[in-house]
């Protein structure tokens, strides 16, 4: 707290001594460096989580058990989910927030730079602990099990029947939670206090708006997750009975507490995507964003509604009819503000001078494929239908459409859009095109057939399946390996940019409008920007 803005009073202008080497990264309080750390970390986790997914897909390529035993398979589904949610998608958004929010609101840095450093450096430790438990399971003597209860860690699977490594998992989740809360607090404090003079809330770029709302969601629900894992811990070791029916507790309570966190969490992973896409589409349509204010209100309504829909994840658990109907209607209501957003994106493009550079391609793929994922979500919201779809591959298809071809695609769009600003080099066009088209085709080969096997009754989280699902699963696995390999192309693109190999980027390579402040600083963005705040008209 004390060191927050001391920097502004220092005279580092006359003697520019940016730290370098390992110290630069370890002790960094610079929002750009920390943003870069977050982005590389999340990409590394994306590859790790992807590797775990490929183990799943290798096992499911053919019926029967070939590659891993079912116990290890369960560990793969669990840790894949946890790594992707908490290690890949969330830190990627925090990285983008770190890089872009100060640049977009004309601030010299984040408001709490030291806390920023801390919130990043907790993460590698948190994930070393979690991934360490998998390595022990895979290679360790005696093969102790890694967490194997699914990423939703329902009690009593994670309490009474949880493996010893569940305690490592609990510690790891606590650390991720602390990191996320600190990151979110930093965003709110920055947006509330460091906006350039003249930038009113309703003049903020939508990426900043969506992140501000996301940050409030994080502050509201990450502590509830911390509470849930704390209850697990005391149930496991200190004789409490929160989730233990024998002692008067209730395992269903766990699901309510978890999904009270879990559903807002789903929107934490998609609201910043809305912001990214709302930043990119107007630039490449050469028209201002259609319905700016309605976008803000739609985002806020989605965030508010996210608190009253959690039980749609647990329709089959048993609820009074009134409760079921309430959660069903509330869930369906969310499609209204979401529909407003999709309508606005389309209206922005309507009669615009569209061009299809790489960021725009990813953003368009996002709009179309996210809408597909949203529609299957609407199907799942219908309670009687959900009794049929529950825990089938249809659900897996649904949430991968919104998280992979939704959230991940938007992050890729953001990376291609802002890489020129970050690195000073245009991302390699040929590699980028191959990356995009491979990803687009493979992601659909990977996830679209899951709808069919799900509707036909293939359950999720099993290492084996009935013979009639073989053909689809074979092609799903081909899609998975193709998609996984395609992401290595992005690794090449990013490394080339970091090595400054490629066409030099001008200050404003995409001809973005002047109000987008991030394009008014040189490329690559210098170590310190907006030491004097810009004036907003």
């Amino acid at each position: 707290m004390t060191a927050t803005t001391a920097e502004h009073h220092d005279h580092h202008d006359d003697h520019h001594h940016a730290p370098h080497g390992l110290k630069r990264w370890l002790f960094s309080t610079n929002h750009k460096d920390i943003g870069t750390l977050y982005l590389w970390f999340s990409f590394a986790m994306f590859l790790v989580g992807g590797l775990l997914a490929l183990v799943i897909r290798a096992e499911l390529m053919y019926p029967g058990l070939q590659v891993v035993d079912p116990e290890f398979f369960n560990q793969m589904t669990t840790v894949h989910g946890l790594v992707m949610v908490f290690g890949a998608i969330m830190p990627a958004f925090v990285g983008l927030a770190n890089w872009m929010i100060p640049l977009m609101i004309g601030a010299p840095d984040m408001a709490l730079p030291r806390m920023n450093n801390w919130s990043f450096w907790i993460l590698p430790f948190a994930f070393s602990i979690l991934i360490g438990s998998v390595l022990m399971s895979a290679f360790g003597a005696g093969h102790p099990s890694a967490p194997n209860f699914g990423w939703t860690f329902y009690a009593p699977l994670s309490t009474t029947y949880g493996p010893a490594s569940t305690d490592l998992f609990i510690l790891s989740v606590h650390m991720m939670g602390i990191s996320s809360i600190m990151g979110a607090i930093n965003v709110v404090v920055t947006v509330f206090n460091l906006r350039a003079p003249g930038m009113t809330l309703m003049k903020m770029p939508l990426f900043v708006w969506t992140w501000l709302i996301t940050a409030f969601l994080l502050i509201a629900v990450m502590p509830v997750l911390a509470g849930a894992v704390t209850m697990m811990l005391t149930d496991r070791h200190f004789g409490t009975d929160f989730f233990n029916a024998a002692g008067g507790g209730d395992p269903v309570l766990f699901q309510h507490v978890f999904w009270f966190f879990g559903h807002p969490e789903v929107y934490i992973m998609i609201l910043p995507s809305f912001g990214i896409v709302s930043s990119i589409i107007p630039v490449f349509a050469r028209k201002p964003l259609f319905g700016y204010a309605s976008m803000v209100y739609a985002t806020a309504s989605i965030a508010l509604l996210s608190f009253v829909v959690w039980a749609h994840h647990m329709f089959t658990v048993g609820m009074p009819l009134a409760g079921t109907l309430f959660f069903m209607y509330m869930t369906m209501l969310i499609s209204v503000p979401t529909g407003v957003k999709v309508f606005n994106w389309i209206a922005t493009m309507w009669r615009g001078s569209l061009t299809f550079e790489l960021p725009m391609k990813w953003a368009l793929a996002f709009v179309i494929l996210f809408t597909c994922g949203g529609l299957s979500g609407l199907m799942l919201a219908i309670t009687p239908a959900d009794f049929q779809y529950h825990d089938t591959y249809f659900v897996v298809a649904h949430f991968h459409y919104v998280l992979v071809s939704g959230a991940v695609f938007s992050i890729m769009a953001a990376a291609y859009y802002w890489l020129p600003k970050w690195s000073g080099v245009m991302p390699n066009k040929i590699l980028g095109e191959v990356h995009f088209w491979f990803s687009l085709l493979s992601v659909n080969l990977l996830f679209f057939p899951m709808h069919f096997v799900g509707l036909a009754g293939m359950p999720r989280r099993y290492a084996d399946y009935a013979l009639q699902f073989t053909d689809y699963n074979f092609w799903i696995s081909i899609g998975a390996f193709w998609f996984g390999a395609s992401q290595l192309i992005f690794l090449a693109v990013a490394v080339l940019c970091c090595m400054k190999k490629g066409e030099k980027a001008p200050m404003n390579p995409w001809n973005a409008p002047e109000e987008d402040l991030e394009w008014t600083v040189p490329s690559p963005a210098p170590f310190h920007t907006f030491d004097t705040p810009p004036v907003i008209k």
């Binding site: 707290m1 502050i219 704390t230």
Partner: protein, 194 residues
């Protein structure tokens, strides 16, 4: 930033508010526990019934009968045979019934059991009143011994007309280890008087 001399104060002010909000939300996570119980009581969610003796009924509604079925199960690691003496009874709302449940410890050692009741449909749960139940307390059986465990209950005459049949289910849990652990803890607290 000369025009904002109090920037640092504003930042720490926002920071404090947000930190307090995080701590409050951590507390809210725990507040969900009693809140959940209240909601279960009000709505009959999960078929929770009264866990201590209810007052006896006064009037009997002889104009209709309701069928009450009994279901029993033992949880993992519970070495008891456990079954109702009758599968179902028919009774008028308000009428008091006694039903016996048979339990036999098939293990060699003493086992402590705790039965957890649940009523289906959930809305009927709050109308099923037990004046006496083996589920109010833990039950102990020495190895190889058996016993009959009584439940005395009636249906509140206010029970909705459309409910003509309901199921009372008991799940029996083995709580021996947990009880031994507790008495050990007590022994430690009392300075090893035992």
């Amino acid at each position: 930033m000369a025009e904002q001399p109090n920037l640092e104060d504003r930042i720490s002010g926002t920071l404090k508010k947000l930190l307090i909000a995080s701590v409050l939300m951590f507390g809210f996570g725990f507040a969900l526990v009693p809140l959940y119980d209240v909601i279960c009581d009000v709505t009959g969610l999960n078929g929770k019934t009264n866990s201590s003796a209810a007052a006896e009924s006064k009037e009997v509604d002889a104009s209709r009968t309701v069928r009450v079925q009994f279901v029993t199960q033992t949880n993992a690691d519970m070495p008891w045979e456990f079954r109702p003496e009758v599968r179902s009874v028919e009774l008028h709302p308000g009428e008091i019934k006694l039903v016996q449940f048979f339990a036999k410890n098939e293990a060699a050692d003493t086992v402590i059991g705790q039965a957890i009741p649940s009523v289906t449909p959930g809305v009927a749960a709050s109308y099923l009143k037990k004046t006496q139940c083996f589920c109010f307390n833990q039950q102990t059986l020495a190895g190889g011994k058996s016993m009959d465990m009584p439940v005395i209950f009636y249906l509140d005459p206010a029970i909705p007309k459309h409910i003509t049949e309901l199921t009372l289910s008991y799940t029996l849990y083995n709580v021996t280890e947990r009880e031994q652990q507790k008495s050990k803890d007590v022994a430690v607290h009392r300075g090893s008087q035992f």
